[in-house]
């Protein structure tokens, strides 16, 4: 029941992301004389980010299995790897943003860039919140073991983490790949 409530929350979160996608779609051409996506995006970086996030989804799945068989060591290891991969993703994204800002292509340059930074940045904020949650779950299992309510929260965390990867699939396809191809 807890997981179902969280599932519905995730769907509401996806509706919120869809608004940012809609704004991005509408403002795509509004570069106000500034740079467009094709001129800015570094696809190699995006590919590495994608790899990090996808692998972290996999290791998160491993953590779920470890939790179900009550294996603390494998759980903590899998969660730690998931966290590290998530941090790598964030580091790469922060570096990309800083680079864009330094080139005068920050979010205040044009409506297109505002929409880009907001959509991708919102996802990045969710990943950051997810990492905070991940650390909290690692601490909880360390302190109290696999209690029933902690396992419920782990299920919710896994849902959250996988959903973030699903949203990233939409982002790299629509924003980066489509943006570079046109």
């Amino acid at each position: 029941m807890t997981a179902y409530g969280f599932w519905i929350f995730l769907l509401s979160d996806i509706v919120m992301f869809s608004c940012f996608f809609a704004a991005y779609g509408v403002l795509l051409g509004q570069t106000a004389g500034g740079p467009s996506g094709a001129q800015l995006f570094d696809l190699k970086n995006v590919a590495i980010e994608t790899g990090c996030l996808l692998l972290s989804s996999f290791t998160c799945g491993l953590a779920s299995i470890a939790a179900d068989v009550r294996n603390v060591r494998w759980y903590q290891l899998a969660m730690a790897v998931t966290g590290v991969l998530g941090l790598c993703f964030l580091a790469l994204e922060v570096r990309e943003f800083a680079d864009l800002v330094s080139r005068g292509a920050g979010p205040t340059r044009s409506a297109f860039l505002s929409a880009f930074f907001t959509l991708v940045g919102c996802h990045g904020l969710h990943v950051s919140a997810g990492i905070l949650w991940l650390l909290t779950m690692m601490a909880q299992v360390y302190a109290k073991g696999f209690r029933a309510d902690i396992c419920r929260r782990l299920l919710c965390f896994a849902l959250f983490w996988h959903a973030l990867d699903i949203i990233w699939v939409a982002i790299f396809s629509v924003v980066y790949l489509l943006g570079s191809a046109v």
Binding site: S12, P107, F112, T118, A143
Partner: protein, 667 residues
């Protein structure tokens, strides 16, 4: 150190807000001192503020709504007075002030009266109707309420510290952008709604999960009371629509705080996009308010007609149809913005189609009354008043759904009259009906009938005297949000509307008197059995007020109108049943999480508005710490022993038996 905040934020040179703020502060202080002197604080903290009981939280929601109704109503009185006198005259309120009044009026009435009222009633009633002990997530319920209260608090603080938005209740850009609204008003508006929006979303998740996953044995979907179906539909809409509000306000705030260009005139921004998105939220929002009201009437009408609801399945279908179609009509709020005939036609047709399932509902209520033994109690009168009033409002709605007609009527007083017609007719009348109907369940005594009827007649008459003139003025070309006017034809209608406002105010005063009188006479008005209306659904199967665990033993349901079937069987068998098998009951512990979380949210909201960045960080850290503290607790439930459960239940059964014997005395 304190961002943009300094002493000039307090309106020392403006007498009206200063006096209003002063009066409110005096009242709040008086209440706090009275409660402190009487020693009520521990009781209020332990039994209400930290409560995770859906019944208590529901009552607090309704209380918030009724207090804010007074504030929003006073705004309305100010507006109507201004328009009655401001003919060839500057009136009482200068434009800078008047603009804040109508913006606050709309914001408060929708977000802090309508929403809390319906959410409160749903919270109070739905678990009882489903035959379960609480909602799916009790502590989260508390968090949701307190975050809503935070939003209301921030809006009210804007009266004393700073100013409110001057942009109307939906803050359209470019006016709401930083260059045209450099003050803190729009920030108060936006942050207040962002925070209370989280609270509303949480309530939505809670109620959907409760209806889908928590029903007593035997209660299949098609045996649920109609109010539970409308709760499901309305909360599905909350989950689907509120994220849109959050996203859109976030984009506006990013424009204002960080210089983004979503809706600005420069940099390629598109202000039309704001209207599009905000109404994609805004239209489902009115159905979020109206559907629970329809549900309330689906409970009141069968009870006071002595018949089951006519056409239950068609009602369910109509409700879910309204739920889905409400997401396909939003452009009718901006036909005139320039989408062109093709787009306008699609949305115009959809807007007319959505009137059909609503019509089905009206027919079903009428057929429920037909052939029944109708008792015209106060809730029933609100129901009949609703049917007449809402039909008129719905008809004018179908009229403005026709794009060519809307090109003439958009943003005129005709439109204002239309939406007040449907909102007051459905939501306000429904709220009052629900309040009167379920008050005895919540508190154990009925409300005084005479004052209730007086309130109804004053409010109903006052409504028509206020708003029918507005239809006329709109047809004569008067637009909304006017601070003064020079057209002679409009004047008599404005004066008539002013008179109507006096009548509606008397209606509200009658409500307050009714409450005071009822509390005074509560022993005569006592509900001893738990079923004062001879009603049909499960909330009436338990005591008034219900014990914290709702039902001693969760009921077993075998059909629609579950409680009616129980009563029929009891009358037949003359209550010759074995005593139920009482067990220990586990209930969730109270928790200060909701209140503390909202405290930090208030701090954060205020700090964000005034650009006090260190305070924002503090609030954020505090909120996170609250979550972790909540996650860390080891004891989240307490046990009520079986003997205690048995004792409370036996007392209620004894009362019911006595009442049945009094009724059943042979001639």
């Amino acid at each position: 150190m304190l961002g943009k905040l300094d002493w000039s934020a307090i309106p020392i040179h403006e007498p009206i807000p200063l006096i209003a703020a002063g009066a409110v502060l005096v009242i709040i202080l008086a209440v706090l001192i009275w409660a402190g002197v009487k020693g009520y604080f521990p009781y209020i903290w332990h039994e209400w503020i930290t409560s995770v009981d859906h019944k208590r939280i529901g009552v607090m929601y309704v209380l918030l709504a009724m207090v804010m109704l007074l504030r929003g109503g006073i705004d309305a009185i100010m507006m109507r007075t201004q328009l009655a006198v401001a003919y060839h005259s500057p009136g009482i309120f200068p434009p800078e002030h008047y603009d804040q009044i109508f913006s606050a009026h709309g914001t408060i009435m929708i977000f802090f009266v309508g929403m809390p009222f319906v959410i409160g009633l749903m919270n109070l009633v739905v678990p009882l109707q489903l035959g379960v002990r609480d909602v799916a997530f009790p502590t989260l319920n508390s968090v949701g309420f307190w975050l809503t209260a935070t939003g209301a608090l921030l809006v009210n603080i804007s009266l004393v510290v700073g100013e409110f938005a001057r942009t109307g209740w939906l803050a359209f850009p470019p006016l709401s952008e930083l260059s045209y609204s450099p003050g803190v008003g729009v920030d108060y508006y936006a942050w207040s709604l962002e925070i209370s929006g989280v609270g509303t979303l949480v309530a939505g998740i809670n109620l959907v999960t409760t209806v889908l996953k928590l029903r007593t044995r035997g209660m299949t979907y098609l045996r649920m009371p109609m109010f539970c179906w409308t709760t499901l539909a309305s909360n599905l809409l909350i989950i689907a629509a509120f994220p849109i509000l959050t996203a859109t306000l976030t984009m506006l705030l990013l424009d204002r705080y960080l210089g983004f260009h979503f809706f600005t005139n420069e940099g390629g921004g598109n202000s039309m996009m704001f209207m599009n998105l905000i109404w994609a939220w805004g239209h489902p929002e009115v159905y979020i308010l109206a559907l629970p009201a329809f549900g309330i009437f689906s409970e009141v009408v069968p009870t006071f007609s002595g018949k089951p609801l006519f056409g239950y399945r068609s009602m369910v279908l109509a409700t879910m149809a309204i739920c889905i179609i409400s997401f396909m009509v939003w452009l009718h709020h901006f036909f005139t913005m320039g989408a062109g005939p093709d787009v306008n036609a699609v949305f115009g047709i959809a807007s007319m189609i959505i009137a059909v399932p609503t019509g089905v509902k009206i027919y079903n209520w009428l057929f429920t009354m037909y052939g029944g033994r109708v008792r015209f109690t106060t809730p029933m009168m609100w129901a009949v008043g609703f049917m007449v009033t809402f039909i008129i409002g719905g008809l004018t709605g179908v009229l403005v759904a026709v794009p060519p007609a809307d090109f003439l009527l958009h943003n005129s007083l005709f439109l204002v009259a239309h939406f007040h017609n449907v909102i007051i007719g459905a939501v306000l009348f429904g709220a009052f009906a629900g309040y009167t109907y379920w008050f005895p369940k919540a508190f154990g005594f009925r409300l005084h009938e005479g004052w209730g009827k007086a309130s109804f007649w004053f409010t109903l008459t006052g409504f028509y005297v206020t708003f029918i003139p507005l239809y006329a003025a709109g047809m004569l070309g008067m637009t909304r949000r006017m601070q003064h006017y020079d057209v002679a034809e409009w004047r008599p209608w404005m004066i008539a509307a002013g008179v109507g406002t006096i009548l509606m105010t008397i209606g509200v005063i009658c409500q307050i008197v009714q409450l005071a009188v009822s509390i005074r006479q509560r022993d005569e008005l006592r509900d001893v059995t738990g079923d004062p209306w001879d009603a049909r659904s499960l909330e009436w199967a338990t005591a008034s007020p219900p014990p914290v665990f709702n039902f001693a033993v969760l009921p077993n349901v075998t059909g629609e109108d579950a409680y009616w079937m129980i009563k029929e069987r009891a009358r037949r068998d003359n209550l010759e049943t074995r005593e139920p098998d009482y067990r220990d009951i586990e209930m969730p512990r109270n928790s200060p999480t909701g209140f503390v979380c909202a405290f930090f949210a208030s701090v954060m909201g205020f700090a964000l508005i005034w650009h006090i960045w260190w305070m924002v960080a503090l609030g954020l850290a505090g909120a996170f710490a609250t979550f972790v503290a909540f996650a860390w607790r080891d004891h989240d439930e307490y046990v009520i022993p079986a003997q205690e459960v048995a004792r409370m239940d036996r007392a209620n059964i004894a009362e019911r038996r006595a009442a049945m014997n009094m009724v059943e005395t042979p001639a």
